[in-house]
Subunit: 408 residues, 2 copies
């Protein structure tokens, strides 16, 4: 099944908005076994919308359109589609009632311009919007089925699932599994997984690098969805083995989530002392609801005085070894653990740059220390990137190190 | 000048990568006075690339293409273009030499597959790539000038500037100014700026909402670039007046950068005590190089015990008022300021949710306190969003409050 993703909106062609809908829809269509062959976005111009839709409707089996369903004069999608079809629009009273009820609920007055959001090209089937004002619809255009959704992602996504995705599900013969990894570059993952596709006909392995992680996607096509799932599961197990211990979870997981879950179920608590990562470790963890059950405190001891004051790191130790050193990292991790009474202490100190590097400790040098009742373990790492990336990977490497310590 | 943005890459049509290049290029072309009328992305399919480029080349004055210049068999852009033009490719020896030198510099061996990156369709003018391997080029295709760049953003952007942008600059009669704002919703900004466009012919005002901020863009077109700049500057001053005090900077500014700059030049230092924002304030500040000159420490006192231990908040105070309260916020701000000897202390405590809300203090309730030698000032805010947004806006509101305290 060939699919095109279409969008209209001058906010896209002026670069005021990134067309993230196109990527999300493409990923979902691919997962469902469809093949996206083209993305098109045009500005809010009636003729250009029509030319694009007319062209795509002869080239693909389905077009997914987002945007242009709002109440303003810029919103032209429905008018354009009716024009291409050569049919009038009908006003749906049921939709009007739902819209009026929605406005009443939020104590707002529905303006006359909203009424056009209840207009649909003759022959179309309405797709309900449970979250926003504008419903979508499905209509046949030449050889293509055209799905029309609003551009707001949180409205569009459930509407896609209840219409396009569920109609695809009936005939699904494919599936996709996701494995999240940390600690191996994409090229190394590719090397380790070499040959897996050839050994397993019907399987495609994809990668999505999202610094500092790489997601591995195992896509399988077979006679039925069930046998596709069996095939994908078998191959995902091979991937797991070949990449061990770098796979930490599935699609819905993140490293902070997994770590918090594992620590909570082991009855452990965490305290952090950050320097060069400047609060990022704390932010990554506290982004997750319920993190307060595990995380007791995070001290961003940016100055040397703060390291002594809050973490009890002796100023002589800093003077002797420098703030970026193994002894100071260990003292920070031990200090924050002992002060807070946490089970595990994590410390990160390094040179994030662009200044502050030396020959001995160039920009990118980071010491990661974990402290438990057994003692401290520190490692020196070198992350040869710029400030942003150094902070990001150091924070993740810190979480990874805590996770590794749990199983020791 | 009508422009189309083209990209090839199955990683785009499979949704593995968001086409952020299209948005960046569209914004720059718009700033330069061009009009982007279409974005197209197709998968790595020779025929589809050719069909798309042939079509666009009769509809626009310029096509900007990204991607498909790599060394692998998937990289088909140059072959496709030569095919559309009906010309052979030439191999550029100068480019080959540069590539060999580049590989040697990184101690890598250049593989034979890389050689095709030195091939260009006859008639094209090479555009140097100072950062990566693959050069780009410019070539005439029907009525359009086609600019071909690699897909890697940090390679593509400087190549765009040195070719497309500088050729446009000669005939530029427009300019765009950016004003960054915080604290007003987009609708309120629109209301305050109503009428400005009508009063100033040639001026278009655009908005880019990037939670929790809104950027206002003043685009002006006139007889020359100089008069466009005069016009844009005049209108930007009106925008400034109408939105005061919510405008904090221009295109290259961020709130953390501006705050750090202002504090540094005033000789002030900052210490932070965070609870519900969990390290985000520290992360936003330490993301900026040189932040250590201002930021002394950031204590993420997530547990009540940590508030007492690190910040000296009396446990009786927490017991009497709750951790999310004005007295505790003030005590946190004062505590972190006094302990570190910073000029200013900032504290944020609130309910980020999804749990922990009460009738008196529902999810989204946040107390922001600033402490100086003059005393403490606290305000209670309500941010009616979900966890992610509550943390983000609370962190920015905290920075904003510190900034407001500087001028008092």
């Amino acid at each position: 099944m060939k699919v095109a993703i279409f969008a209209s909106g001058t906010e896209l062609t002026r670069g005021e908005l990134v067309n993230s809908n196109a990527a999300w829809l493409s990923e979902r269509v691919t997962e469902l076994g469809g093949e996206v062959i083209e993305h098109v976005a045009v500005d809010d111009d009636l003729e250009r919308i029509q030319v694009a839709l007319r062209r795509l409707s002869t080239e693909v089996d389905a077009i997914i359109s987002t945007g242009g369903l709002g109440p303003t004069t810029d919103d032209l999608t429905t008018e354009a589609i009716a024009g291409v079809l050569g049919v009038p629009c009908f006003r749906d009273e049921n939709t009007l009632d739902r819209m009026r009820a929605r406005f009443a609920k939020f104590n707002r007055v529905m303006s006359p311009s909203n009424e056009k959001q209840a207009d649909f090209p003759q022959g179309s089937a309405i797709i309900l919007n449970e979250i926003g004002t504008a419903p979508g619809y499905r209509v046949l255009l030449n050889r293509a089925t055209l799905f029309v959704f609003p551009g707001v992602p949180r409205e569009m996504k459930p509407m896609f699932e209840q219409s396009f995705a569920s109609s695809m599900a009936i005939q699904r013969t494919s599936t996709q599994l996701h494995l999240r990894t940390f600690g191996l570059p994409e090229s190394a993952i590719g090397d380790r997984l070499a040959g897996l596709e050839a050994e397993n006909p019907g399987v495609t392995i994809g990668y999505r690098a999202h610094f500092p992680e790489v997601e591995v996607k195992v896509f399988a096509r077979a006679d039925s969805e069930a046998s596709a799932l069996t095939l994908a599961t078998k191959v995902a197990e091979r991937v797991h083995e070949r990449l061990a211990p770098h796979v930490y979870g599935g699609k819905a997981d993140t490293l902070p989530k997994v770590l918090l879950r594992e620590m909570q179920s082991a009855g452990k608590t965490l305290a952090i002392a950050e320097s060069c990562t400047g609060g990022l470790v704390g932010h990554l963890l506290t982004h997750v609801p319920g993190s307060s059950k595990v995380l007791l405190a995070d001290v961003v001891a940016y100055s040397n005085e703060a390291k002594t004051l809050f973490l009890g790191v002796p100023s002589e130790l800093i003077a002797a070894h420098g703030a970026v050193s193994e002894p100071v990292a260990c003292a920070m991790a031990r200090g924050v653990r002992e002060k807070t009474g946490a089970t595990v202490g994590l410390a990160i100190t390094g040179v994030a740059g662009p200044d502050g590097g030396s020959e001995e400790k160039p920009v990118g040098t980071v010491f990661l220390a974990v402290s438990t009742s057994e003692g401290e373990h520190c490692e020196r790492r070198m992350f040869p990137w710029h400030r942003d990336f150094i902070q990001t990977i150091a924070a993740h490497a810190g979480l990874w190190k805590v996770r590794a310590s749990l199983s020791q």
